[in-house]
Amino acid sequence: MTLDVSHARQILPCFVCGDLPPQIAVQVQALLDAHPQLAAEADALKGAEGACRALMERLAEEYPDDLLDFDDLSLSADPDPVPTLAAPLRPWMALLAAAASLLLVVGAVTALHASQPALQGLPDQHALHVAADDPAFIAQTDPATLGQALVAGGVEPGLAMVPDLSALGLDLVGGQPVSGRPGAVLVYQGQGGHRYVCQLYSGAPPTDPPDAVRHVAGTTLRGFQRGNLGVVVWQAYGMFCMFTGDGPVDQLLAMISKRVALG
């Protein structure tokens, strides 16, 4: 089989990472020698790898020192053990265990409330965000460029994945980092200038009981109605999203369901 430039471009990423059979790699190399443009593309792909490595080396300093060795783990340990019936507790042990459990539950609930954004404050937040007049607001209609700008503004890369909602008739207006906690705010505009806000956070979503629930393509959408404001919350890729817009929550749920179904 003889390669041409077009075919070589398709397999260039595999050539760059050294994952081609030798007889094919030789042909790609010959094409690189003969075509400077192709060689430049191979250099760009190698450069991207180098940039990734350099980025991760900078982040490697954050490695958690508490995971140093396996002294505390047995090789035979099963991380997902099947629950078994415990031996019966003596009365005084049961009392202590109950007290400890209660403390844990109270602590956990307190921590949850402290760490979650309050849904009751969302109407005010929504109004502020749609105005898009905060000095930190980045007016940018291209999702990829806004993602880069958010990262440059301090948003964690995983939270700077700006969705393109044009399939829903929503145009990106811009966004901004959330102050005081890891997160990003995105503002979209639909027909008639109607604006929607998408807030992205890491961690666990609010635990308020929802007014409506939909399950779409393996994703659970939780809907809330706060006055005239509709709120839809769902989890994806280790973060949760809060999508808000004026109007009935059912309308918002239908909109987000369509987006989730599109993948």
């Binding site: 990472c17 792909l45 991207a48 090789l75 890369p157």
Partner: protein
């Protein structure tokens, strides 16, 4: 890249299968930084990355006991990391992968690389990062992961070209 199992890897895998704790410590020492890089590149923040790392850490001992002598250690670590990230991040196999080869390509600068990486779909980004940090051949990774080799190569290519695309594709 090589799919051959070195004598050193074969010895290490034999020790792991026999439950040798020192072999496990050696394995973690060797691979914890690349694993951390993967977690950091896939997580929403440092704390989330720590959760992912701890999950892999906890699942490594039982997984290593079942490792095959037919695949290099780097590939078996790679497959475990991929499997755990898929489960924890709810990554799905894409229905179809579009590879867009740009008219103009350039290596991303240090200032934009994080944003460009974040813009790649996580299902594809994980494969690209596995490639960068573990160097496991697509054929071997396909054999031990259950994915198709062509899908892995396509995912790798789609992510790589997206990183070097100049402007909006």
């Amino acid at each position: 890249m090589t799919s051959a199992v070195s004598m050193q890897d074969a010895r290490a895998i034999s020790r792991l299968k026999a439950g040798d704790g020192a072999a496990l410590t050696d394995l973690w020492t060797r691979w914890k930084t690349p694993i951390w890089s993967l977690c950091r590149g896939m997580a929403s923040d440092v704390e989330h990355a720590r959760e992912l790392l701890r999950d892999i850490y906890v699942h490594l001992p039982p997984a290593a006991r079942g490792w095959s002598l037919d695949a290099p250690v780097c590939c078996q670590v790679s497959a475990l990391v991929w499997s755990r990230l898929q489960r924890r991040l709810e990554l799905r196999a894409p229905d179809g992968i579009d590879v867009h080869i740009p008219d103009h390509a350039a290596a991303p600068s240090r200032t934009v690389i994080a944003g460009k990486l974040a813009a790649i779909d996580p299902e594809l980004r994980v494969i690209y990062l596995l490639d960068v940090f573990f160097r496991c051949p697509a054929a071997t990774l396909a054999r031990i992961s259950g994915w198709g080799e062509a899908d892995i190569r396509t995912a790798r290519a789609a992510a790589a070209w997206q990183l070097v695309t100049v402007g909006t594709p």
